[in-house]
Every structure is written in C-alpha cells, then in structure tokens.
C-alpha cells in the first residue's frame, strides 16, 4: 500500500518533469519569473515604500524615522491642506487631458483612416505613410513648437512667432494649459488610432457593406450599422492605448501647463520626487496605475477578454471606395493641412528657433549657427559650445543611442522568446497567461513605471546592488516597458515560421540550444526586427519613462532637452530635439531599407 503510494508520487513527479522539460514550458516559466521581477516586485515595493519614512522626510516631520512604517504620506496626500492641489486637481487634470486626448486623437485618427482606406481621396498611399510621422517625433516637441508659436507675454521674455508678427498677445487659454496640451498630444497620438483603424477597416470584407447596399441601405446607414460595429474593437483598443499613454505623459503638461499652474499627476510625481519626498510620488503613481487599470478593466468588460486588444495584422480585402465627389479636394486640403501642422510646422519652427541668436527675434539678421557649431566660450548659454561640438551633448547622444540599441536588442530578444513560448504553447493556459501578462507594462503609465523602478532600485536588494544611477537601470526600465511591442512582434514572427521547422530539426537530433541558434533565431530575426526598430525609436524619444531615473552619467538627449528647456536655453533644447528627430528618422530609413514596415 505504502509502496504503491510511493510509486504513485514518483510517477507523478516524473510526469511533471516530462511536462516541465519541454523547452517552451521552461521558457514560459522563466518569462513569468522575469515578469515577476520587472513588474510585480517593483509594484509591491512601491506600495511598501509609500508606507515608510524616507531620508528627506525628516524635513516634513521630526518624528520621521527613515525605514520605519508610517501612514503619514497617505494622510498627507489624501487628507491635508495640500490634497486639493497635489492630488485632486492634478487627478482631474490628468483624467480630463487623457480623455480629451483620446477623444480627439480618436476622431482625427478615425477620420483619417476612413479617408485614406475607404474613399477615393488622391495620394492615399503617400499620405498614409506620412500620417505615421507625428508619432515618430517626440511628443514634447509639439509642445515646444507650440510655445515657439503661441507663447504670450504672461511668462514674459521672448514672445512667440504669432505675437512677433501680429503684435497680438494670444490669450492664456490658447498659449498654456488644457487646450494646447490636449491639442498637441492629440496631434502626437492620432497615428495610433489611424494605424489600428486602417488595419481594421481594410480587413473588413467590403462585400459586407455591398450586401447592405444591395438591400437598399444608404451609405451613412451602412457606415453606422455595418462598418462602425465592426471596427468597434479597434476603436476601443486605440482609445485605451492612447488613454494610458496620455495619462503617463510628462513633458508636454510640464512645458505647457506649469506657466498657468496647470498640474497633472505626472508633473506632481516629478516634483515630489525631485523635492525628495518619494513616498508622495509613489502614492500619486499608484493613483495613475489605478486609473489606467480601471479603464482597462471596464474596456475588457465591454469588448470581452479575448478580443481585448486588436493588433495590426492581416492583408486587406479589396475594399470598395466611397467616392467623395465634390468634397474630394476640400478633404485632401484638410488632410494635407493636418499633416503640415503636425509634422512639418513643428520641425520648421524648431529648426528656425535653433538658428536664432537671441531668442524671440525672428528677423533674418538674427540667424546664426552658434547653437549648432559654436565653439563655446562665447557669452551665450553660460558659454556652452554648440551641440555638435559640446562633449556633454555628444555623450548624451551616445547614451541615447546606446540605450535605444540596448533596449531594442534585449527586448527584441526577449520578444522572440515570448513569441516562442506563446506560439509553441498555443491555447494552453500557461501560454495565454504569458501573452496577457506581458501586456501589463504597456498599461502602467510611463512616469509611474519610472517611479516603480526608482523605488525598487535605490537600495540594494539581497545580492543586487543599488542600481540607481547606473546605465543598466535605465536600460532595464526601457526593456521592460517595451516588451509588449517586441512580444507582439515575436509572436507574429513565430506564427509565420510555424512549429514544424523546429520539429524537423528536433527529429534530426538537434538539442534545443542548437535548434534555437540554427533554426528559430535565423528565421524569426527578420520578423522581430519590426519590434526592434519600433523600440529603438520609442526609446530614442523617451522622456516620461526615464526622467526619474537618469543621473548626470546616464543623461540622454531627451533629458538634456528637458534640462535646457527648464533652464531657459530654448535654442539648445530645440537643437537637441532636432538632433533626436534626425536620429530617429535615420533609424526609420534604415528600417525601410531592411524592407520591414514598422508597426506601432
């Protein structure tokens, strides 16, 4: 009897061993463990850290004992004289900007998607290519360009171009705060909706619509009753994606909001942490995570669990094109105007600004290349050399490129593993949970994600030394945040390869490492490249995510821009922004050369 039981356990154990010994199971488990470390533990640590005293807190309260438990910070944020201005109003502002941005981005993107996939608008292909560009440009560049254009004399000094030429001071609401923040971010984010919706629209079989037409329905009726319901998942997805991104954005509200005391949770997190009251920052970051999870939860309830997120995939059917008739050229004009406003104008403005010797003077005799190639030791900007000669900026440029490449390569690599685990274990619970859990980092707003890492890695954890201030930490946060992209790319690549190519090599006697090296990797690398390039671009223009983690040694171009802008050296900040755009565009061109369309 006892013998039999023992036997039983042994067999169960060896069954488990057989199960676990499958490479994709091992990889899934390792990936889940990794996720534990890059998302879950930082999260738990942040919750814990919001309940303890930190060093700087002795300034707040004499009874502060660094390292011991307290609910002081929660009380301070939730119920004190500063609650209204540190939590409630920023919360409202964050919500209303994120909602506004998602709403307008959705409308612009959806309209554009429809015009460029479903109508007979001229130059559709070219326009569709250009329509993605606003996303490639760092979001705060739109904010800086806005200031260049509409800065009024509230914050005095160099006025914007508008006032320079028309001698008319734009009202505050136009220059700063909610309106320009929503507008510039909508311009930055509409490509999301555009891409998701174009994909969805062009995968709708136009016969569905035509059959409606044959039954005598009008175009608008078809649009409302047939087309719209079919693209609802794509619409909701892009709404969520935009919402959670806009929620965590830092640069734009910082530049455009501060002059009129328009604060958001992200700017408050930043000032709490720079003011060395990290617990307050963590609590606000938790609020951000809570909001974005709630919205996602609601979304999932609406469109069901499995179809939660639409991704861009699939070849389209031939769609029948709606003739625009008399509206054709007005529509074309609108689209072109949108693209000029969202891409060309900001860049031209920035470039122009980098060439002005004295800020705010847009006359021709004020043009100079000083901020690009000046030798320094002049009277300008504390005598710093032009950005192409400035060692600190060149170092930051290398940091940026190094960071973007590291993050792209490593997260691309992990993405391949995610793809492998998910595709190999298709339809098993384990694989599904890997697929879903790896979407999590996407949903944690950027600056909150940075805060998570800040809280975990400023101290040593067991054998891991304090990583704060190291390049590795900055890279780690970029890798983690971008896994959803590369995971997607990895899954797509792996689906295209199929199982049998690997199995054939297993039959041929190859162990897993050989199979991976000789078969899986060479075959998936091209597909994974799309994710790789996307990550490169994203990290090159990343600010919100890394602003809390970057130290002088690990400064990147984006944080340098931020620093110069903050100190009032607008020409430098603009010049660096232009440099970033140049690097990103070169990256994009290389990707085109490699023949892969980038995905977002």
């Amino acid at each position: 009897m006892v013998q039999g039981e023992k036997e039983d356990i042994r067999i169960k154990f060896s069954r488990l061993r057989n199960y676990i010994r499958q490479p994709h199971i091992i990889i899934s488990l390792v990936l889940l463990l990794l996720l534990l470390f890059i998302v879950l533990i930082p999260f738990i640590k942040m919750v814990k850290d919001s309940f303890i005293w930190h060093f700087g807190d002795t300034r707040l309260s004499r009874s502060a004992r660094p390292g011991s438990f307290t609910i002081f910070h929660w009380r301070r944020i939730l119920a004190s004289q500063i609650t209204r201005n540190v939590l409630l109003r920023p919360l409202l502002n964050s919500l209303s900007t994120a909602l506004g941005v998602s709403f307008f981005a959705l409308i612009i993107g959806a309209l554009l998607a429809w015009l460029l996939t479903r109508t007979d608008l001229p130059f559709r292909r070219l326009l569709a290519t250009l329509a993605v560009l606003p996303y490639v440009i760092p979001s705060y560049i739109h904010a800086l360009a806005w200031l260049t254009l509409f800065k009024n004399d509230r914050i005095g000094g160099a006025v914007g171009i508008f006032q320079y030429f028309f001698n008319l001071s734009p009202p505050n609401w136009l220059s700063y705060g909610y309106f320009p923040i929503v507008l510039t971010l909508s311009i930055h984010y509409f490509p999301y909706t555009f891409l998701l919706l174009s994909a969805s629209l062009s995968s709708i079989d136009s016969r569905l619509e035509e059959s409606g037409e044959i039954l005598g329905a009008t175009r608008s009726y078809i649009l409302r009753r047939i087309t719209f319901p079919l693209v609802i998942p794509a619409l909701l997805s892009s709404f969520i994606l935009t919402f959670s991104r806009a929620l965590g954005i830092f640069g734009t509200p910082y530049f455009l909001g501060s002059p009129v005391r328009f604060f958001t949770l992200s700017t408050q997190i930043y000032s709490s942490i720079t003011n060395r009251i990290p617990a307050a920052g963590y609590i606000l970051a938790l609020m951000l995570v809570a909001i974005s999870s709630t919205v996602i939860y609601i979304n999932q309830r609406i469109i069901g669990r499995r179809k939660g997120f639409v991704t861009i995939a699939g070849k389209g059917f031939r769609a029948s094109l709606t003739p625009l008739g008399r509206l054709k050229y007005p529509a074309l004009f609108l689209v072109v105007a949108l693209l000029i406003i969202s891409v060309l104008l900001p860049l031209v403005l920035l470039v122009w600004q980098t060439l002005t010797l004295y800020p705010g003077d847009y006359s021709l005799d004020n043009l100079s290349l000083l901020f690009w190639i000046g030798r320094g030791n002049t009277e300008f900007a504390e005598g710093e050399a032009g950005i192409l000669r400035n060692p600190a900026i060149i170092k930051a440029a290398w940091n940026s490129i190094k960071l973007a490449l590291t993050a792209a390569v490593l997260s691309g690599f992990i993405g391949i593993f995610i793809g492998y685990a998910v595709v190999k274990g298709r339809n098993t619970k384990l694989a599904n949970s890997v697929e879903q859990i790896f979407f999590l980092p996407y949903l944690v707003p950027g600056i909150a994600f940075g805060a998570l890492y800040l809280s975990l890695f400023t101290h040593r954890i067991g054998p891991i030394p304090a990583l704060y201030g190291t390049f590795f930490l900055v890279a780690l946060v970029c890798i983690a945040k971008n896994l959803p992209f590369t995971g997607r790319a990895g899954i797509t690549a792996m689906l295209q390869i199929g199982n049998e190519l690997e199995e054939a090599s297993e039959i041929a006697g190859a162990r897993w490492s050989t199979r991976f090296r000789r078969i899986i990797l060479p075959l998936s690398i091209r597909g994974a490249l799309a994710g790789f390039i996307l990550v490169f671009i994203t990290v090159m223009r990343e600010l919100s995510l890394i602003i809390l983690l970057v130290t002088p040694k690990t400064r990147t171009l984006t944080t340098m821009t931020f620093r110069y802008q903050e100190q009032g050296y607008t020409q430098f900040s603009s010049a660096i922004s232009v440099l970033i755009v140049l690097i990103v565009v070169v990256g994009e061109l290389i990707s085109r050369k490699m023949g892969k369309k980038s995905i977002i």
Binding site: I82, N85, G156, G157, I461
Partner: protein, 398 residues
C-alpha cells in the same frame, strides 16, 4: 499540472517578497560614526584629525598619487574651474558632474547607503539639508583650508564651509522704466501688479524656499513695512500665521506667475521693446547676462523695502569615505580662490555672487554685500519651516 505551476509561482512570489522585505525593515544608516569612518577620517586627516597648517606642496604630492578628483557640483561652472585646476595641478584629473542640489542629495545618500563611494567634493546649495541629512549623519565632512581660517568669519566656516553667498533680488526693466516701479514688496500684492510678478518655482528650486523662509522669519519687518505702505496694521487672513505667510498668500492670489528658472525670469523682464514689462525675483548674478545679450535691459531694484532680496549660502564639503581626500582638499582650496579673486574662484567672481573671504575686493560694478538691504536665509529656520512653507505655497496655488 497547472495547479502545480501556480503553486510554484506563488512560492517564487513569496520568496521574492522575503527577499525585498529586509530592504524595507533595515535601518538605512547607522547613527554615530562607524569605526570605518573614523579610520577613514584618520587616514584622510579630516574632522578631528585635520591638520592645522596648509602645506600645498605636500597636498599636491599626495593628490598626485590619487590621480583624480570627482566633483559633484550644483552648477555647470564646474566645467570652468575644473580645467583651470587641471592646468594648475597637472597629473590630477577632474571629473566634474553637474547635478541639481536635491538630486545630488539623493545620489550621495544612495552612494553612501550602497557603500559605493564615488563623490569626493560636494558643492551644493540648500545648506539646511546638507547639514541635517548629510553632515549630522557623518556622510559628509567639513573641510576649511587652514590658511583661510583667518580670512573667513566663523559663521561662514561652521558647520560647513560656505563657498559664496548668492543673492536673489527683485529686478525691473530699465529700458521702459527710468526708475523702479515699486518700492515695497507689498506693492506686488496690489492689483496693478496682477499677473505681472514673476517668481521662480520653489517646488523646483529649493533656493526659493530659502527666500520665502527668510521673508517669513522676518515677518515682523514685513508687518512693519505693510503699515508703512498702507498706513494701517495688517489683518491676517484666517489660518495664516504671520505677515510673511500673508505676503505669500496675497502674491499668489494676485496671480503671481511661476517661472521655471531664474534665466526665464530675467529674460522675461529684461527683453527690450516690451510694452508693459513685468517685475520679478531672480538671481542677482543674472545681471551678468546683460553683457551677453544687448537685447536684455534690466536692473536690480536697489531701494525696495523692507529688503531687495535674500542671501543664500552655497556650501562645499568632502564626502565620507572619499577615495581622493587630498585632491579634494586641494580642489576646495582652489575653488576658494585668492585675495584677487583667483582662477579657481573666477567663475563666481561675478556680479551678484559674494565671496566669503574678507580679503577680496567686490566685483567691479557691484556694491559690497553689507551695503545691500538684504535678509539672509537661516539654514536652521529653513530646516524647521521649509517644507511647511512649501506646503503652504502648494496649498494656496489656485
């Protein structure tokens, strides 16, 4: 099977919580000087073991064997006095880092906590925090070059060596206006200055918490000046403690414009050709920008009552367990300059910065600090009240 995996996962999960738990419970820094610190102080000849004489040659020799010195500096001017130091003392490499003061504190705390000692010289604003969070915990140590002791009065040597005093003052556009448009801080609460008073964000720049603290500490002076201006005693708003706070409240309610940097303030006020230029508070040393940009036209309003501005201290010290203590001492000595100002001090020998050496003549065009009507931020008061003031500020932002 899947259940087992879930159990495994939750085990990992528990394990990791246990792993991070010690990090939370641990006491972050031990009180009192540790034996290692004492040993280091002995070998570095600092603190109680400091020598009484300054032997530059010997220090240079010792520093050369150390080979380098890293300077955490609150300002980018480290890239000016660094290279001149290297010229003067060949063989010692200067690694300069331009880090904002609060970030520097975070960084030093993190380094000390991780026993990863990177910093040698700490050159920083916000002395209250440095004294209470770093010095009192033995994470930084004061070093006054012995040859300078006689040249610097005691409160600039203790508890920390002050490098210079920096003054923040009110400025106006002297192209549009022939004379300062106001003569009291209280004028800024009047309707005619609504949305036209620029003030750097104290949430970003701790220096301006010090400015506000000085105004509050001298609330009696503020109250007296109120009476002078309005001819009656001040009536405090409900819940407001004193005339200093009242002034903050009223300027905020008068739509004080919060600025991102002192540079922004001086550019905003000083730009020529403005119809209705505002006034504002900025670093006195911004006066030097006028020389660089002919379009800038502004000056300090020297006759404001009760004060034209506030003086704050910039301090300098050596980090605990610094790996290059001799080079650090040499660097501090270099940064303090000489009786003519000196190459090391040169970047700070400008309008608006005031040396602590009593043997140095003021910068050309500058009045001596004693002649200026100023209050001085008291690090002890800032330490006690600073965050309260900041919270008051934040709470009353409309």
């Amino acid at each position: 099977m899947k259940k087992i995996i879930f159990i495994l996962l939750s085990l990992c999960f528990l394990f990791s919580i246990i792993l991070i738990a010690p990090a939370i419970g641990q006491k972050e820094v031990a009180e009192g000087l540790s034996p290692e610190t004492v040993a280091w102080l002995k070998s570095a000849a600092l603190g109680d073991y400091a020598s009484e004489t300054f032997d530059e040659a010997a220090l240079y020799e010792a520093a050369k064997t150390e080979g380098e010195v890293s300077v955490y500096s609150y300002s980018s001017r480290v890239f000016k006095f660094g290279p001149t130091f290297e010229e003067k003392y060949p063989g010692i490499k200067v690694k300069g880092f331009d880090i904002d003061s609060p970030e520097m504190v975070t960084k030093v705390l993190a380094e000390q906590n991780a026993k990863n000692y990177m910093a040698d010289v700490i050159f920083i604003k916000d002395p209250s925090v440095v004294v209470h969070e770093l010095l009192s915990r033995g994470l930084v140590f004061n070093y006054v070059p012995p040859d300078l002791k006689g040249l610097i009065q005691k409160d600039y040597r203790e508890p920390l060596l002050v490098h210079h005093t920096s003054v923040d003052a009110l400025i106006y556009n002297n192209e549009k206006l022939s004379a300062p448009p106001i003569d009291s801080l209280w004028d800024l609460t009047k309707d005619e200055w609504r949305s036209r008073f620029l003030f750097p964000d104290p949430q970003k720049m701790s220096e301006f918490v010090e400015v506000l603290a000085a105004i509050i500490e001298n609330s009696a002076g503020m109250a007296a000046d109120y009476k002078r201006v309005f001819g009656k005693d001040i009536v405090l708003s409900p819940g407001v403690e004193n005339a200093g706070y009242e002034w903050i409240l009223r300027t905020l309610n008068n739509d004080l414009v919060i600025m991102a940097s002192t540079n922004d303030v001086s550019n905003a006020i000083g730009l020529s050709d403005q119809a209705n230029p505002p006034v504002g508070m900025t670093a006195f040393s911004r006066l030097r920008d006028k020389g660089k940009n002919p379009n800038l036209k502004f000056d300090v309003m020297y006759n404001i009552k009760p004060v034209i501005g506030v003086g704050t201290k910039v301090v300098i010290c050596i980090a605990n367990q610094a790996k290059h203590p001799n080079a650090a001492k040499l660097m501090i000595h270099w940064m303090m300059g000489d009786e003519k100002g000196g190459n090391g001090y040169a970047p700070y020998y400008v309008l608006g910065n005031f040396t602590v050496r009593n043997d140095v003549t003021p910068v050309k065009g500058s009045r001596s600090m004693e002649d200026l009507n100023l209050w001085f931020a008291d690090p002890e008061f800032v330490w006690d009240e600073g965050q309260k003031i900041l919270e008051f500020w934040v709470a009353n932002l409309k």
